[in-house]
């Protein structure tokens, strides 16, 4: 079917275009590498001493959590880019071309997988420098990295929707921050959920961030896996599907101004 072939080719054309933004405007790279590194250092050396994590060194506990948090924000590039494209009339141009209707979104979110790969690499290098060590077979580690990318991809769709909904790139940024940031903290990413008050703990235990972070600890550190890994995959797929539908329908109706 040439429709599918065109859709894939359009996606790749636009993914390349989105990804080229990184070397062309490298200031963006700072926000998703330097910021997580600062978080690692801050938690490892400032808060870490005050947090007890039974069974783990804090740095081992922290790295999977911070990787998941970083992934959830990687899609910000998509929100920013879409919001700019809308403002500059590029979305109008794309919508007037005989191209796949979804490719602007699938291209952007695919490019995020590339930038997220860079983030993961930087984070793991920094993690190892400050004392993180894997305690799992290579296959599990690879599976963990793929899970991170899947989770990041799901949040790219959340951000795609946010970018199409916001009135400006700045609004997209703060909306993303307000919605996602608290979710990452009320989870097992930085502290054991057992240390939280009962009501928060109840929420934290069903929070997809907790489930994904626990899955990452299972894959990177050999923690008891339970159903976390499948739960995390299910959440990622669910979030991706739900927001992809929302974002695509929003895109089709997108109007400049």
């Amino acid at each position: 079917m040439s429709g599918l072939r065109d859709a894939v080719s359009d996606t790749l054309v636009l993914a390349k275009r989105s990804f080229l933004r990184i070397p062309r405007a490298p200031d963006l790279l700072l926000s998703f590498t330097v910021q997580p590194i600062m978080f690692v250092l801050l938690f490892a050396y400032v808060f870490g001493g005050a947090i007890t994590t039974p069974g783990y060194d804090y740095i081992d506990f922290l790295i999977p959590g911070i990787l998941v948090q970083t992934m959830s924000f990687g899609g910000f590039v998509t929100a920013l880019g879409l919001s700019e494209d809308l403002k500059k009339g590029l979305v109008d141009r794309f919508r007037s071309l005989p191209m796949s209707r979804a490719a602007v979104l699938t291209g952007r979110t695919l490019a995020d997988v590339g930038t997220n790969t860079i983030s993961i690499t930087v984070m793991l290098v920094v993690g190892v420098i400050v004392g993180f060590s894997f305690d799992a077979p290579l296959l599990h580690i690879v599976a963990g990295i793929l899970l991170l990318l899947l989770f990041g991809y799901a949040f790219s769709w959340v951000f795609a929707f946010i970018g199409l909904t916001s009135s400006s790139p700045e609004a997209a940024q703060s909306l993303g921050f307000i919605v996602i940031f608290p979710l990452t903290f009320v989870s097992s990413a930085f502290v054991p959920v057992e240390s939280m008050p009962a009501a928060l703990r109840d929420f934290a235990e069903v929070n997809p961030f907790t489930i994904t972070v626990d899955a990452m600890r299972a894959l990177f550190l050999g923690a008891p896996a339970g159903n976390y890994v499948w739960g995390a995959v299910a959440w990622s797929l669910g979030i991706a599907a739900f927001f992809a539908v929302l974002a695509v329908s929003k895109y089709k109706r997108a109007v400049v101004r």
């Binding site: 065109d6 080719s9 359009d10 054309v13 636009l14 275009r17 080229l20 933004r21 062309r24 405007a25 500059k88 009339g89 590029l90 109008d92 141009r93 794309f94 919508r95 007037s96 071309l97 005989p98 191209m99 490719a103 109007v255 400049v256």
Partner: protein
């Protein structure tokens, strides 16, 4: 519908919430010609373009572009059109060449073609030297040229240009006009929206004046000017005391009775040929001294002001507007 009509719209209607943007627009553009859509800000020009380029579904009415229905055959229709909007819709973080190649790929041109077309267009638009520079280093005029080039990548038979020269310096404007004329000479059909009368006058074969979402006049530039009033002879007399004698001498030439307005005798005429010489001869015979004689033709500005009721001053105040609506 006949094959040589490139754009045809009937009764297009569109409202946004409680604002009526298009109130039943009819357009007809024969293939290979230029239609100028002329109107003040907010008249509905951009809405019409957005509907015809499939960006916006109409609330009512129908439209076909290159023989394809904007609602039912949108996907095929998009292969036949190029759009250059009011914004320079190009990616700042790509080079000029990369922008055009990207558009070529998204039109699904055969392999190798996007690059070749990009090089050719950059050359033609005087951007060859800047081909490998990031667009964010381009000037406003260069961006607009690149934007127009992007609309031409697939050599579409129908081109939509929404205020293509707004905000351009005079030299860039003329350059763009020449490019558009070149495309039309090669057989492209163009729908052009503009607020600039000289632009419509120069480029458009036919002009539709729209205001408040309706076409209020349609015709060639000359027809529109005639609609407002044909040519007239303005005669300044040496002495106003001769006015009656002058009117008597010129009345046989005039389409209507000449009248003195602001010290100038206005003589509406049916045709201009030989008119000045004849008027001078008659006035000479009548012994009337002449200070100045000139033929005057209404400009598109006169047409626009008369039709839209937007006079030079903010409000007409003489009820003309009420009558119009």
């Amino acid at each position: 519908m006949s094959a040589d009509v490139a754009i045809e719209a009937e009764g297009l209607r569109k409202s946004y919430k409680d604002v009526l943007a298009l109130d039943g627009i009819d357009l007809r553009v024969p293939a290979g010609t230029v239609l100028g859509l002329l109107g003040p800000n907010g008249a509905g020009k951009t809405t019409a373009v957005r509907i015809l380029t499939t960006l916006l579904p109409p609330d009512g009415g129908s439209a076909r572009v290159a023989g394809l229905d904007v609602s039912r055959q949108a996907a095929q229709l998009r292969t036949k059109i190029g759009l250059a909007g009011q914004y320079a819709a190009v990616d700042e973080n790509l080079t000029g060449a990369e922008n055009l190649e990207m558009v070529g790929r998204l039109y699904h041109l055969p392999k190798g073609e996007p690059r070749a077309r990009a090089a050719e267009l950059l050359e033609r638009f005087d951007l060859a030297d800047a081909a490998d520079r990031l667009v964010r280093t381009y000037s406003g005029g260069m961006r607009r040229r690149l934007d127009l080039a992007a609309a031409l990548v697939a050599q579409p038979p129908v081109l939509f240009l929404d205020e293509p020269t707004t905000g351009l310096d005079p030299r860039s404007r003329i350059g763009l006009w020449e490019t558009i004329e070149g495309r039309v000479a090669a057989g492209t059909t163009v729908l052009l929206t503009t607020q600039y009368l000289d632009e419509a006058d120069r480029l458009a074969d036919r002009i539709s004046v729209i205001d408040h979402g309706r076409v209020i006049a349609e015709g060639s530039s000359d027809e529109l000017k005639d609609q407002v009033g044909g040519e007239r002879l303005d005669v300044t007399l040496e002495s106003e005391a001769d006015t009656e004698a002058a009117i008597a001498a010129l009345e046989p030439l005039a389409a209507e009775r000449p009248a003195l307005v602001d010290g100038v005798l206005r003589v509406p005429v049916r045709q201009r040929r030989g008119m000045i010489a004849e008027a001078v001869r008659r006035l000479g015979e009548a012994g009337v001294g002449i200070d100045d004689v000139a033929m005057r033709r209404p400009t598109l500005d006169d047409v626009f002001l008369t039709l839209t009721g937007r006079a030079a001053e903010p409000q007409g105040g003489d009820g003309e507007e009420g009558e119009e609506r």
